[in-house]
Subunit: 308 residues, 2 copies
């Protein structure tokens, strides 16, 4: 399983800024991408925390073009491309591969529930065959709490056997360490990202390659620090500290909490918008979150402040 | 709540034929629509049983254009238009309203789970405001077993209060009669369709207007017969007969079973294709289904046979 710029380390599922009319805000998105890169964080653009499934396919195509035209290297990009419709997934995946993105994060088709592994195999296989691009690197996206449709060990085995150079890794957002561990044990060559930094140390100790975490949007440095020092004597303490911080941020709905945090620390209330069905924190929630962050001494080093 | 051609009676969520390359087969779709209309069945085109979420937005736009250009009246059409992305839902709903379709069947955005009623209210309200077409008639689509995201009584109340001429009815595919009954009781003016013909008689006796059922794809006449005779002395027997037939068809996965049935009774194996993640019945399943249908004396009166 050799590929060019092999994804590893810390990825943020980049949160998506919207203008007042709820159209996508490419300028703020690019600015946030640049800040994340300055913190040694890679970009899982168009993930669950990006509200990617609240965007049209054309919006995602256009935004990826704009991000790359702005000078952001495809080496740090792992766009989400999995949709309910096969042809949408093909279109987004082909577009990402053509740009040379180092990987794509692919949800299974998620409308129908209790589908068979045979059906999911066909969905992924047909996508890969239709994209027909040697540059395509697929990371399977297992997130049963939201997609409901998951990725079984049998499915991974079949896909990696048939497409060993294409299906190269996975993000596990099950929240279930036993599942992550099973995949790491069964497929030692598979590149496993945990979906929460709370499993980062265990993932690294068991042969994983990093994490793709919501909280990397606001605190990438601390996560990357553990990633770089997971073999040090401090590692367990660093992990505990990440866990403590996570409790603050997940006390309220995470996606609006991330946006509220960025809005506050960049002095830019325009960040505080979500597309329905998601909604912003209410006043009490926002106050609770910001007070807790303040008490923690939270900072976003180098974040650009909007002029007052 | 007055509107022009008020939807009522039997609707089929029209199953979607695919060509060998899995592209949509407009000719077979239109032929099936014509057969359904010949059986006094209306068309809930682009429903769950239509694999609508396995189609791109552009495919749905193009197919609706072709169906209407083929001479099928918008009066009998209730296209499904609810997507995960607000702008996709707006695009499909505006297109259906512009064509004068008698209604649209609108799923809530279904990627994020455990979303708030406030978020869902905004999703529907924002769609209606953006479509901004007096001809739009929204039927809310409640199908928690698949979408997971459902429509609460509180949400119906708020939407019907704010948009009394637009949000006019609902399809309840919860499979839970208690839920259907609660909506019928709470909103007597709301046009309720049950999502399975097994609740048709109860729905009509409690003030509902009809059913939108998978099985109407292959046996519309019997369902419409109960609809037209629900106040007759035969009604309970007719309902029991529909229930017996339903048990045959739902012994295997329903969508491939419908396609297998149409393929067999029209002598046209091209009907036997599904887009992944759904798959066709295997040989044993197909044999079991067709034997059971044969033993039942099943017919599709007037269905066009492909030349042998």
């Amino acid at each position: 399983m050799s590929h060019n710029s092999q994804p590893a380390g810390t990825y943020a599922p980049v949160v998506m800024p919207f203008k007042a009319d709820l159209s996508v805000d490419a300028d703020r998105l690019i600015a946030h991408c640049r800040w994340l890169i300055s913190q040694q964080c890679n970009l899982a653009i168009f993930g669950t925390n990006s509200e990617a499934n609240s965007l049209s396919v054309d919006e995602r195509i256009d935004l990826l073009d704009q991000v790359i035209e702005a000078g952001i290297s495809p080496d740090v990009l792992m766009p989400g491309t999995g949709c309910c419709a096969l042809n949408d997934t093909v279109k987004l995946s082909a577009h990402a591969a053509k740009h040379g993105c180092s990987g794509v994060l692919m949800l299974p088709p998620f409308y129908y529930k209790a589908v068979s592994d045979e059906g999911l195999y066909r969905a992924f296989a047909e996508t890969i065959e239709r994209v027909a691009d040697d540059r395509l690197r697929v990371y399977l996206y297992h997130i049963p709490p939201i997609a409901q449709v998951g990725i079984s060990l049998e499915l991974i085995e079949r896909l990696t056997k048939e497409y060993p150079h294409t299906v190269v890794g996975m993000k596990d957002s099950s929240g279930d360490w036993n599942n992550t561990k099973s995949v790491l044990d069964a497929f030692p060559e598979f590149d496993m990202f945990c979906g929460s930094e709370s499993f980062l140390l265990d993932t690294m100790r068991n042969g994983g390659v990093g994490c793709i975490s919501a909280i990397a949007n606001i605190r990438p440095g601390a996560i990357q620090h553990l990633y770089e020092n997971w073999q040090s004597g401090d590692a367990d303490a660093l992990q505990r500290e990440l866990d403590d911080f996570r409790n603050i941020l997940t006390a309220q709905p995470p996606i609006p909490s991330l946006k509220c945090t960025i809005a506050h620390y960049s002095n830019d209330a325009d960040w505080n918008r979500l597309r329905p069905p998601l909604i912003e924190l209410d006043e009490a929630q926002a106050k609770g979150l910001l007070n807790a962050l303040d008490a923690y001494g939270f900072e976003m080093p180098g974040i650009i402040q909007k002029a007052a």
